[in-house]
Amino acid sequence: MLLVADGDKVAFSCLVNRHQETVFRLIYRYFGKEEEANDLAQEVFLRIWRSSRKYTPTSKFTTWLYTLTANICKSETQSPWRRNIRLIGSFWALADQESLQARPHALSPEDTAIHAEQDRLVLVAIESLPPNQRLAVVLRRYEELSYQEIAAVIGCSVAAVEALLVRAKVNLQKKLFPQKNKPQVFRSSSV
């Protein structure tokens, strides 16, 4: 990162290659839309490049990267443009449906359809959460960050992260299992 701060493009390219999947994964799980995740992930890296001179290595680079990504996700959620698009309707629904179905595993068409539906329901459930709960869930469940790291990224206390996750899990249970005894879609993957 110090080389990037000196304007070294090769170092920046290495940094992009190393962290692109992490950033993309986080944004994709936050918004559930592939095209949007690609665009916003690029925006994250462009912002890193622009603000690299101001970077001071006070904490782990990944924490700074997650914080930057989280801020972009939150500001994008609050942008009027996005809200309007959501009101008009999802332009990406078809493309995202295709991307969800395009899995490298060799599954039968029926299994592929079930997995795609499971993925879609999980992403929709995550997207229905308030921004901070959404971030906490994604960072904990998929990025496996500790509560302390999540607190640093979101900018709150560890106790607040714990409370966020408790509420998020309750909300997710309500979304994914509206009737507790009949988890229809997820029956095949249940324990």
Partner: protein, 168 residues
């Protein structure tokens, strides 16, 4: 009515900690306390099982990989941004401070054009300036005499001279 308010305090508190327990974020002493409670409380065990199941279900959201040309696109955007900035700054700088050669050329051209335009205009006027024009100019020079024609002083003198002639 809220279901949790009907539960014994212990169960409600334990359930609030189940999430942290699942995430491995509970201190050893508290963990022991929770596990002791879970061993005897089937409702809390059920809640823990549901939470565990939820976390397993969440695994479903497997993201696709980023676009294959993801990093190239970023590097391309970096170059484009930088070039466009340079061009803009160059243009702005060029407008504000042209080079000395350009300034000299502008001044010389200005002088040449100004001279030509002025000369053309004067040539046109000079042809009009005839003898009649010269007479008009000489008449206009009358303003420098002590009593110019049409002035208040001349009217006063005429009035006084007329009055004296009448008296005589």
């Amino acid at each position: 009515m809220n279901k949790s308010s009907l539960l014994p305090m212990n169960c409600a508190a334990i359930r609030n900690k189940l999430s942290a327990l699942e995430d491995g974020e509970v201190a050893p002493a508290l963990r022991f306390e929770i596990e002791t409670h879970l061993a005897v409380c089937s409702d809390c065990r059920q809640a823990q099982s549901e939470l565990h199941h939820l976390w397993q279900v969440m695994e479903a959201a497997i993201p696709p990989p980023p676009r294959p040309d993801f990093s190239q696109e970023i590097m391309g955007r970096l170059t484009v941004k930088k070039e466009s900035r340079l061009i803009n700054w160059g243009r702005a700088f060029g407008f504000m401070f042209p080079t000395p050669t350009v300034m000299a050329v502008i001044v010389v051209l200005g002088l040449l054009i100004g001279g030509w335009v002025g000369r053309t205009a004067m040539e046109g006027k000079a042809t009009i300036a005839t003898a009649q024009g010269q007479a008009a100019v000489l008449e206009a020079m009358d303003v420098f005499t002590p009593v110019p024609k049409g002035s208040l002083a001349q009217s006063y003198i005429l009035l006084v001279s007329d009055a004296t002639q009448v008296k005589r």
